[in-house]
């Protein structure tokens, strides 16, 4: 059974077009991941317009390649520059850069590349095993279950964000509100468009993502001249080979990192950053000499990088099988798929096996490409890192503007993106997390649809959400999670206060 799927998937993934765009995707993903300040979200939304003219499967393969390519590339900046290329590479900055200063940059890059591959592979294998199972369970879900599941995703995402939990939930609600802009699907009347016909299709996800993350970032950092210390020494091929000791010290962290990362990737609201962080903490606990951590411990570089790549892959499981994204970047992937006319969910797995398994097999190909791509091309990435930011940011800004403009050909969208840029700047100032807003924006329309349908089934009885066992169970989980988050936050606040009064 599974072999049929693998062969079907390979047949899809190995077509010339799909191979080419897989390559372009992972290449551009690595490229943008290497540049500090450009994370997965910005990379996917910047490059999204490029996939418009592609077949849905090809577009999906390319976007996925960009997505997991960025975290491969991000580690390069962390090690060589001491600045995280993407947020989920932040954990390894201390140890990775310390290794580079000791002259072990090549080895660190090689081991993170290999670890990323091991982690990615573990994630893909888990996806191959579990995705069909979860999809078959998901087939029995109806509107109330979906509504509760989406609510759970949103609650999880907001409670994991930094700062006060109420703030995260407020951002989710704001995202949901933003998601109602446009024509109401069921009655056809306009909502909150304020007379702008450009808003009838809703606020574009790509515009919001580029505004809140891309443009706001440039607005905040254009005058920033702090470049980090670029590692100037040339890295030869021989300098890549790790010593016997380094090899031995990397095996177990890779295994542990894979498992930790795979687990956290599947949970909603967590993603690569938390996975990497947990893997780092675990290694420090297991280590015989924890005092080395922070000063160039190999384990502290390998395990987090393995974990975040594993998480990147397993994050696709809930997104593709249930249509419920666990993180903002997965929400963006989901939104992009919907724009391409693909609605992820259990029916996609069953009804379009070629697309689903083609994507999974392309993950293998993409990960192999990344492994090959990253090691010999390290020289190029190093050169890229020495391009000063003052030359880079106008180009990033131009790509944001042009990406938005070329998607629809309307100048209105550039103004809208500018508006979201300013909003993003304000949100940065007030420490309002943007990721929950994006998740709310994507899930909003689907949630409303399922909410209305559930109440239509129950003839207006709100109890339907607790009368169905699966839905009730999920809602109970939501409640538990909210309780834990609020109590935890309250306790942390009290601890802070008592410390101060001492």
């Amino acid at each position: 059974m599974i072999w049929d799927h693998i062969i079907l998937g390979l047949a899809q993934a190995l077509t010339a077009d799909n191979l080419l765009y897989c390559f372009i995707g992972v290449f551009l993903g690595t490229l943008l991941g290497v540049i500090p300040g450009i994370g997965t979200l910005i990379a996917v939304s910047l490059l999204f317009p490029f996939t418009f003219h592609l077949q849905p499967t090809t577009a999906l393969i390319m976007l996925a390649g960009i997505y997991y390519g960025t975290s491969y590339g991000g580690s390069t900046a962390s090690i060589l520059l001491g600045l995280p290329g993407t947020p989920s590479n932040a954990v390894i900055v201390a140890d990775g850069h310390a290794m580079a200063k000791k002259g072990r940059a090549g080895q660190a890059l090689f081991l993170t590349g290999l670890g990323s591959f091991v982690g990615g592979s573990t994630g893909i294998i888990l996806m191959m095993l579990f995705a069909p199972l979860i999809a078959s369970v998901g087939l029995s879900f109806t509107a109330p279950e979906y509504f509760s599941l989406m609510l759970f995703g949103l609650v999880a995402a907001s409670s994991m964000s930094s700062g006060a939990p109420a703030k995260g939930l407020g951002m989710v609600a704001l995202g949901l509100l933003l998601g109602t802009v446009g024509l109401d699907v069921q009655t056809g009347s306009e909502r909150l468009t304020f007379g702008f016909p450009q808003l009838f299709d809703g606020v574009s996800l790509v515009i919001v993502a580029l505004g809140l993350f891309g443009i706001a970032e440039v607005m905040a950092s254009a005058t920033n001249t702090d470049q980090g210390e670029v590692f100037q020494k040339k890295i030869t091929m021989r300098a890549l080979i790790p010593s016997k000791e380094e090899r031995q010290r990397s095996v177990k962290p890779m295994i542990r990192g894979s498992l930790i990362g795979s687990f956290f990737g599947m949970l909603p609201g967590t993603g690569g950053l938390l996975a990497a962080f947990m893997a780092y903490l675990a290694e420090r606990r297991f280590s015989k000499n924890p005092e080395e951590f922070g000063y160039g411990a190999v384990e502290g570089v390998v395990a987090p990088e393995t974990a975040n790549n594993a998480a990147d892959q397993t994050a696709f499981i809930p997104t593709m099988t249930l249509g419920i994204p666990g993180s903002a970047s997965m929400a963006l992937m989901l939104g992009v798929l919907i724009i391409h006319g693909i609605t992820p969910g259990p029916r996609l797995v069953v009804e379009q096996p070629a697309l689903f398994w083609g994507l999974i097999m392309s993950f293998w190909i993409g990960n192999i490409m990344l492994l090959i791509l990253n090691i010999p091309l390290i020289g190029i990435w190093v050169k890229l890192l020495s391009v000063p930011y003052r030359l880079l940011y106008p180009a990033v800004l131009l790509f944001c503007c042009f990406g938005v403009y070329s998607a629809t050909g309307q100048i209105f969208d550039v103004w809208l993106a500018l508006g979201f840029g300013l909003l993003g700047y304000l949100m940065k100032m007030l420490e309002m997390p943007a990721a929950p807003l994006l998740l709310g924006l994507v899930l909003g329309p689907m949630m409303e649809d399922n909410f209305r349908r559930a109440l239509l089934i129950s003839r207006g009885d709100l109890l339907i959400f607790v009368e169905r066992p699966i839905s009730a169970g999920i809602l109970l989980l939501c409640l538990g999670m909210l309780l834990v988050t609020f109590v935890g936050h309250w306790r942390a606040g009290r601890r802070l206060q008592t410390e101060e009064t001492r």
Binding site: A166, A173, L177, I215, L397, L398, C401, G421, E500
Partner: protein, 156 residues
């Protein structure tokens, strides 16, 4: 730079501002929605019901954020805005949006490059080279590479 100062008297003003902002946005949306859209019944919901519920949720969490802010630690100087970066980047984008429909892509891109480039001190040669190379890059990637049609130069 922001500095951490332990003082529980004033509270984290960022949370207070964020909470108030959410309250204002949520309230405005709720008033607008209830004035413009039909609610329907719970069984057959009109276009207004879900948005109204969501905007009330925004208000609720806004109040909660504002109230809980009084226990947090104060952060100083968070309100300081890098006006140079903010102004030049905003100006560059606005120039792009204004000039593109009037004069075409090349002048718009050059204006974006020059105005947003003012954030950093640079030589006039660099300004010129940057503007030209960005325009060239946009042409090569978007028009030649992706086949997106847009006027490069246009006289109004």
């Amino acid at each position: 730079m922001t500095s951490l100062r332990a003082s529980n008297k004033k509270g984290d003003r960022r949370d207070l501002c964020a909470g108030l902002l959410l309250c204002v946005v949520g309230t405005a949306a709720a008033i607008y929605i209830s004035g413009h859209y039909q609610m329907g019944t719970v069984r057959r919901m009109g276009p207004g019901m879900f948005p109204l519920g969501v905007s009330l949720a925004v208000v609720f969490f806004g109040v909660l954020t504002a109230v809980s802010s009084f226990k947090a630690v104060e952060i100083e100087d968070w309100w300081k805005v890098d006006l140079l970066a903010l102004g030049t980047v905003t100006g560059g984008m606005a120039a792009f949006a204004v000039l593109l429909p009037l004069f075409g892509a090349v002048p718009a891109i050059m204006a974006l490059s020059v105005v947003s480039g003012l954030a950093v001190r640079r030589s006039s040669l660099e300004v010129v080279l940057l503007a030209i190379s960005l325009a060239l890059m946009a042409y090569l990637i978007f028009q030649l590479g992706l086949g997106i049609q847009f006027p490069l130069l246009r006289l109004p």
